[in-house]
């Protein structure tokens, strides 16, 4: 199985440009970057992909054990970089993929030139003095509520959701198709994401990093962004005016401008 098929890798932009890899977070797929990556396509080589279990990835490649920690997802990022021969990568990771990028850059620092961390959080659950924003009960509640929301994904729809290469119109008819995911996999991804603790990994990273912090982000509050700033040597913290957790969708211009300023500096 080719890595490029497994992760539904799309390559755009300039073949000889500096590579820019965009990684989506928990919830949806590479469409999360649709308003951001075109702004960089004139000078960068753009690489988009779906995590296994999301979007157009090969669901059959899901391996419960490999993806039982974020390291498995970081391994996929490195696989993609190796497969495409990427060097001096600008890695742009949203939400949990910010930490996936941190893990990848810690393991193979020579591949990465810059990290752009959009709404990063190294730990979502509070721990003594550390405020992540959530209690263990909150996260259990999330897993339960996902059960409620997947009731609509009846077994009759499963073959459609699992991807019909020969009948793509079936997929398009689905509502919420950008956030489609195999329920079992999504549940495990949710658990792995929201119970992970990558605080100790931050110190292993020396790649220049940009932290993009939204206002009123209920998932990654400002205190968490500031924690990442303190823990990542030489990082740059930028407070966006955008609110919520997805500035790549709600405020793409501001997001693009912040990334440009960081990369141009």
């Amino acid at each position: 199985m080719s890595v490029l098929v497994r992760n539904n890798v799309m390559v755009e932009g300039q073949p000889w440009g500096r590579p820019m890899v965009f990684a989506h977070g928990f919830g949806c797929d590479q469409n999360m970057w649709r308003h951001v990556w075109p702004a960089f396509a004139d000078s960068y080589r753009i690489v988009l992909f779906d995590h296994v279990g999301a979007g157009g990835s090969d669901i059959g490649a899901f391996d419960r054990e490999r993806y039982s920690t974020l390291a498995g997802y970081a391994g996929d990022v490195l696989d993609i970089c190796r497969e495409l021969g990427l060097e001096d990568v600008v890695f742009v990771g949203h939400s949990v993929s910010a930490m996936i990028g941190v893990l990848a850059a810690a393991d193979e620092p020579e591949r990465f030139g810059s990290l752009v961390l959009v709404g990063p959080s190294p730990r979502y659950i509070d721990d003594e003095d550390y405020v992540g924003g959530f209690t263990p009960q909150d996260i259990e509640g999330l897993l339960d509520s996902m059960d409620s929301n997947y009731l609509g994904w009846s077994s009759a729809m499963a073959p459609v959701i699992m991807g019909n290469a020969d009948r793509p119109e079936l997929g398009r008819e689905l509502t919420n198709s950008f956030c489609r995911a195999d329920p079992e996999i999504a549940r495990q991804f949710a658990r792995v994401t929201f119970t992970s603790d990558n605080r100790a990994d931050l110190a292993r990273v020396h790649t220049p990093a940009l932290i993009l912090q939204c206002a009123e982000d209920p998932i990654a509050p400002e205190a968490v962004g500031r924690y990442v700033e303190r823990a990542l040597p030489g990082s740059t913290f930028v407070q966006l005016e955008a609110t919520g957790h997805c500035p790549n969708l709600s405020a793409p211009d501001e997001t693009v401008a912040a990334i440009r300023a960081f990369l141009g500096a």
Binding site: N31, L142, S145, L151, N176, P218
Partner: protein
């Protein structure tokens, strides 16, 4: 047009002003800014949640949700609304003013900016209290069904394995994790009466679900009872054929059956349509036992007596019985799986029996666990460096 028919009532006389329709609609109604700040709510929403509009207006919609709901809102709801312009049927819980929770189904449509009016997001909230309760019951029933089936399977596989200085038995049994239904794989190992010998069995009933599990239980008991009469492998399979045909249960079941003498290591074995047992002897390449083969139980072809064969388990040697879940994959021919099994046995031959078994299973098993997996390893201690 029929002149006598009474004209339909003038809609204007129904007292349904737009204002009334909005305020007292049978659903909660919210208008939010594209950033999610509540701009306007209707009376229904106020009365359902206990929040009044003065406290609601200007507040982010997501702040009314449970912490779990806030995560779901930010990771699914808001992105979908941005990308599709609408979201439908999202299950969220709204926290009422008194702290209780309103299970709701939420739909939103983004109304783009036009003719000088700013863009807004229109949201309707449906009370889903009863529906959510019913969903919880259904989910609970599904989990219970799965638990019952697994429990049944476990109880049907009960019984202590024989142990002692002359024999070590290790087992791996992993039900498929996909789907709700249990399968019909089974294993067994027990002492034969009056003899210094044990019977080793691995079988595979066709089909899945509680029926397959119950069939497995019957065949397992029948095998035990028949083995106790001293038939030997071939005659035992013949008797099982008759059992299956007479009681119309478990047709096409496959079985590998072996009897091992603990004093001499002599092995008699027979396979009814089952993958060949593997033999790992000290100082030799691992091999598959391809003799003593015949069709699955009551397969409806051939009536002759089934064959059996013999071999010898040396001290320090191991005999492996397994179901096809260990070696068969849709993505590769069976022969490849069998070759891999032999290679793994050779590579891990110096491990202790339990480690050997878990090592081989770990290397060969399908991470997707689409099929049940049942492997039994009988090891004859001794023989020095084994």
């Amino acid at each position: 047009m029929a002149p006598d028919a009474a004209p339909p009532p003038d809609p204007d006389l129904l007292g349904e002003s737009a204002q009334d329709l909005y305020e007292n609609a049978p659903c909660g109604y919210l208008a939010c800014s594209p950033e999610g700040l509540i701009l306007r709510v209707n009376r229904t929403f106020e009365s359902w949640t206990g929040h009044d509009r003065e406290t609601l207006v200007g507040r982010p919609f997501h702040s009314l949700l449970t912490p779990a709901g806030q995560i779901y809102h930010e990771t699914h709801y808001a992105p979908l609304l941005q990308m599709q312009g609408a979201v439908r049927e999202i299950a969220l819980e709204i926290v009422r003013a008194d702290g209780s929770r309103l299970p709701a189904l939420v739909n939103s449509v983004r109304q783009p900016e036009r003719e000088g009016r700013p863009a807004i997001v229109r949201t309707t909230i449906f009370d889903a209290t009863d529906r959510r309760r019913y969903e919880q019951e259904l989910l609970g029933a599904r989990r219970r069904q799965q638990d019952i089936a697994l429990e049944l399977q476990r109880s049907l596989l009960s019984g202590a394995l024989p142990e002692g200085d002359a024999l070590q038995v290790a087992v791996v049994y992993e039900p498929a994790v996909t789907g709700l239904e249990v399968g019909g794989d089974w294993y067994d190992a027990f002492r034969l009466p009056g003899e210094k010998a044990v019977a080793l069995v691995v079988g595979d009933v066709v089909g899945r679900g509680v029926t397959a599990a119950a069939t497995m239980g019957q065949l397992r008991s029948a095998t035990r009872a028949l083995a106790g009469t001293g038939l030997g492998p071939a005659a035992l399979l013949d008797a099982l054929d008759e059992f299956v045909a007479r009681h119309d249960v478990g047709r096409m079941t496959t079985v590998a059956y072996a009897e091992l003498r603990l004093d001499t290591g002599a092995v008699r074995y027979a396979c009814a349509g089952h993958p060949p047992p593997a033999l790992l002897q000290p100082g030799r390449e691992p091999e598959l036992l391809w003799e003593g083969r015949s069709v699955p139980l009551d397969a409806g072809v051939g009536t002759g007596a089934r064959p059996e064969a013999g071999t010898h388990l040396l001290p320090g040697g191991s005999l492996l019985l397994y179901t096809d879940g260990l070696v068969e994959r849709r993505s590769r021919p069976l022969g490849v799986g069998l070759d891999e099994l032999l290679a793994e046995l050779a590579a891990q031959r110096d491990n202790l029996p339990a480690d050997l078994l878990s090592g081989v299973v770990g290397a060969l098993e399908d991470d997707r666990h689409v099929d049940d997996l049942c492997v039994l390893l009988a090891h004859r201690p001794g023989g020095g460096a084994g």
